[in-house]
């Protein structure tokens, strides 16, 4: 099997698809490794197989991906679906598991387009079966047309909450309540960012219109909606049976068997931390993101990141960022002259800048609210190892401010998810208890393999020197 390429692209979401298509167009040999069975990432998940009705429900923002998939399918790339990357190295090596076998590819350039994930926020009962993320519900529908047939509560803050509500209302799912946790005052704090956003008024208007339409549809369907909700919790014996919350001093309780939560989207940096590129802290959206230049180049030089993995800007921006990274790698490999690069990159960059205009406003409006990580001592923070907020607070009080140390003492972040689910919360608990900004603390390290690989598989793997081919 071929194992040396000009570039290895990780991820087949909008950024990975655009990046690899761009490189293939320039005659470069690329391998595309992706976890899913079909291209599209989370946003365009299963797009080549969804039915006409699914596409009608999911709307034009979903079907926009069809063109990207078509171009990718026509491009000459080695596409490996169902492939989990468990290690990447700045020297250009990628180790992966495919069909229970591990392998190694090598290339002078890597583009790690790992995309984004929903911000995990612990609350009482969040480990109960039946608590899912809004994005998870959306994925489930895209994969299988499944919808809840028993009462479902949606709770959280951000456009995705309303988008999933829109889909579930159209599908006539029994929604028990929609609980919006966005504080009203964030409308005010976001105001200074509004003028820039209004330069793309059409985009903002589309969002406002969507949310207004969902609220109208919800009222028609007699779905109760609450604003400025806090104190969310799920209760039940072995699964969700009730969802409780507070709304401006009033206690709410709903019978429900599914709770869909959403508290924003953050870059999925697991592989980026493992490869060791430098990260920055964003104080508005409160997440770490890799330091990249306009082309997606990280501190490691030959390692690039494109798409929402660099900073959450949405699907269209991810595609443009992927294109820019593709053009830049093509130039580095001398398949694009400097003048051609400048001209082509300038076009993409202009489109990207336009696309990003509303983001500072949206980021401020849907910033994680101040009390988002006010977690009670008994609440489980590390789902894998069952570590509570109280135990983490005890260590912070003793002076531990490094998640890596906290992990080695109480196993918080040591389970199968390797801190993907508890990382944000641990960082906030450290900030709360020590008064230090996350910027002053160390990020949690990830050790390879960052995806489960059995010892048997590792023993059988031929990971030696790559063959020339």
């Amino acid at each position: 099997m071929k194992n040396r390429y000009d570039a290895i692209i990780i991820g087949a979401g909008p950024a990975g698809l655009a990046c690899s298509t761009e490189l293939a167009d320039k005659g470069l040999e690329v391998a595309v490794l992706d976890e899913q069975a079909a291209p599209g990432g989370q946003i365009y998940r299963n797009i080549s197989k969804t039915s006409a009705r699914q596409r009608a429900i999911l709307g034009p923002d979903y079907t926009a991906g069809l063109e990207l998939i078509r171009a990718f399918t026509e491009a000459t790339v080695d596409y490996l679906p169902q492939t989990r990357v468990w290690q990447a190295e700045a020297a250009g090596e990628v180790f992966f598991s495919h069909d229970n076998r591990s392998g190694r590819f090598q290339a002078p350039f890597l583009a790690l387009n790992t995309g984004a994930m929903e911000r995990p926020v612990p609350f009482p009962g969040w480990t109960l079966p039946g608590v899912m993320t809004c994005g998870g519900m959306s994925n489930l529908y895209k994969d299988s047309t499944l919808v809840p047939r028993e009462p479902v509560v949606l709770a959280g803050s951000g456009p995705l909450l309303w988008l999933v509500a829109e889909h579930l209302l159209a599908l006539e799912a029994p929604i028990a309540a929609i609980l919006d946790t966005t504080p009203l005052k964030q409308m005010l704090t976001a105001m200074p960012e509004l003028p820039a956003a209004l330069r793309r008024a059409g985009y903002l208007f589309k969002g406002v219109k969507m949310i207004a339409a969902v609220q109208l549809a919800a009222r028609k369907a007699k779905v109760p909606m609450y604003r400025q909700v806090s104190g969310l919790r799920a209760e039940g014996d072995g699964r969700v049976e009730r969802v409780k919350a507070s709304c401006r001093g009033r206690e709410l309780s709903f019978e429900a068997s599914t709770l869909l939560v959403h508290e924003g989207i953050i870059p999925n940096t697991a592989l980026l931390r493992q490869v060791g590129c430098r990260h920055s802290w964003n104080p508005v959206q409160r997440y770490w993101h890799p330091q990249v230049d306009a082309s997606g180049k990280t501190s490691l030089g030959s390692v690039y990141v494109a798409g929402d993995g660099t900073f959450v800007h949405g699907a269209k921006a991810a595609e443009l960022k992927g294109r820019l990274t593709g053009l830049t790698i093509a130039r580095e490999l001398r398949r694009l002259t400097e003048p051609d690069y400048r001209r082509q990159a300038a076009e993409v960059q202009a489109e990207l800048q336009e696309e990003l205009l509303p983001r500072p406003y949206i980021d401020a409006l849907y910033a994680p609210r101040k009390d988002l990580f006010t977690i009670s001592d008994e609440t489980t923070v590390c789902r894998c190892e069952g570590v509570t907020a109280g135990r983490i607070r005890e260590l912070v009080e003793q002076g531990y401010t490094d998640h890596n140390e906290i992990k080695s003492i109480i196993r918080c972040g040591m389970g199968p998810c390797q801190g993907r689910m508890c990382g944000s919360a641990v960082m906030e608990l450290v900030a709360e208890g020590s008064g230090r900004s996350p910027e002053e603390t160390r990020q949690m390290r990830l050790r390879p393999p960052i995806k489960p690989v059995s010892l048997q598989e590792l023993a059988n793997a031929t990971l030696g020197e790559p063959d020339e081919s």
Binding site: E35, R53, Q82, G135, T258, N268, G415, C417
Partner: protein, 105 residues
């Protein structure tokens, strides 16, 4: 297929040709072809995929995008498979994962 344990339902009908048979805890289940193991099981028995390694609590899919590792199952004898990333195959043997997860460490 017994959907008694699932709180999810298909919003579009499925024709008989589009189903395959997998085995969940040794019971044959007709499931839609081409879906993930997680989607197949959620349409069948949605509240128990595995138990957490530390305290043996029941867990089920949370993120459905490969991040949370709460949908770990044993597939054809191989443990630690993320059900949300694995497509179903005819005759596949799927079991709940109960023992602590050690292989990944």
């Amino acid at each position: 297929m017994n959907r008694g344990n699932s709180t999810f339902t298909r919003s579009e009908p499925l024709s008989g040709d589009d189903t395959i048979t997998i085995f969940f805890e040794e019971t044959a289940c007709e499931v839609p072809a081409g879906v993930t193991v997680a989607a197949a099981l959620l349409g069948h028995d949605d509240h128990h995929f595995c138990r957490s390694a530390a305290d043996q609590e029941k867990r089920a899919p949370h993120c459905l995008m490969g991040v949370c590792f709460e949908c770990l199952v044993e597939i054809d004898g191989v443990k630690n498979r993320q059900a949300c990333l694995e497509p179903v195959r005819e005759g596949m043997q799927v079991k709940r994962q109960h023992e602590p997860v050690d292989e990944s460490k």
